[in-house]
Symmetry: C2
DNA sequence: CTATTTAGGACGTATTTTGTCCAAATATAA
DNA sequence: TTATATTTGGACAAAATACGTCCTAAATAG
């Protein structure tokens, strides 16, 4: 059993297709423009925290899951566009631990 | 022997203090405002790629090292401000591998 | 063929970040 | 102390980024 690697956009599209709803239908429930939801599903726009909240509620899934998907997308894209070493992410992990332990804000 | 956890700002300040130069002196060589360099050392501004290039050249260190320091800072701060799971960074790693393998841009 | 859905460009707006200018605060030296 | 240089930090304009909407074209469904 593999981990399924995807993006937040693809994940949202999958969720929507699983219940066979159109962009228009979901967008109106979430309270955003149809075109905007389309862009979000194609990763052309990033959902705001408010939008994520509404989306999570609508699909009855954990909001934290979507945030993790969004952030990890952003980090991955960033690593690739900067052509940075993957190790950068491990360094970031160490920093989180360190900063938390040392209460920097 | 421990890994030294720091920030890009602190690292730049250390580099400068090791050669006992003032902000003004370094800033002028790098071609930026004194105040801006001060802010960068205090992590109040993020150096641009151009600035990193000049700084690396001036201190004769690897530019990639500074970029890694900068990116890992950004990721760590982001994780903390979103109160996201550390695992988010591991997911990002997986995505980088996956995207590279699947040539997404 | 018609109706609906999705894709995508263009564009104004809003938000965020940068860089500069100054002045206040701090440190250094005499 | 007094003078000089350094560093800090706020305010603000400018630049860069990202968002959301409108509209049209393309694709899909019926």
């Amino acid at each position: 059993m593999e981990k399924s690697i995807t993006t937040i956009g693809e994940r949202l599209r999958t969720l929507r297709e699983e219940v066979s709803l159109s962009l228009r239908e979901v967008a109106s429930h979430i309270g955003i423009d149809t075109s905007l939801l389309g862009k979000i599903e194609r990763n052309e726009r990033q959902p705001t925290k408010e939008q994520i909240k509404h989306i999570a509620k609508f699909f009855k899934i954990d909001e934290k899951l979507l945030i993790k998907e969004l952030l990890s997308d952003q980090f991955a894209y960033r690593i690739m566009e900067e052509e940075a070493d993957i190790d950068t992410l491990k360094v970031a992990e160490d920093k989180v631990e360190y900063f938390k332990a040392n209460k920097k804000k």
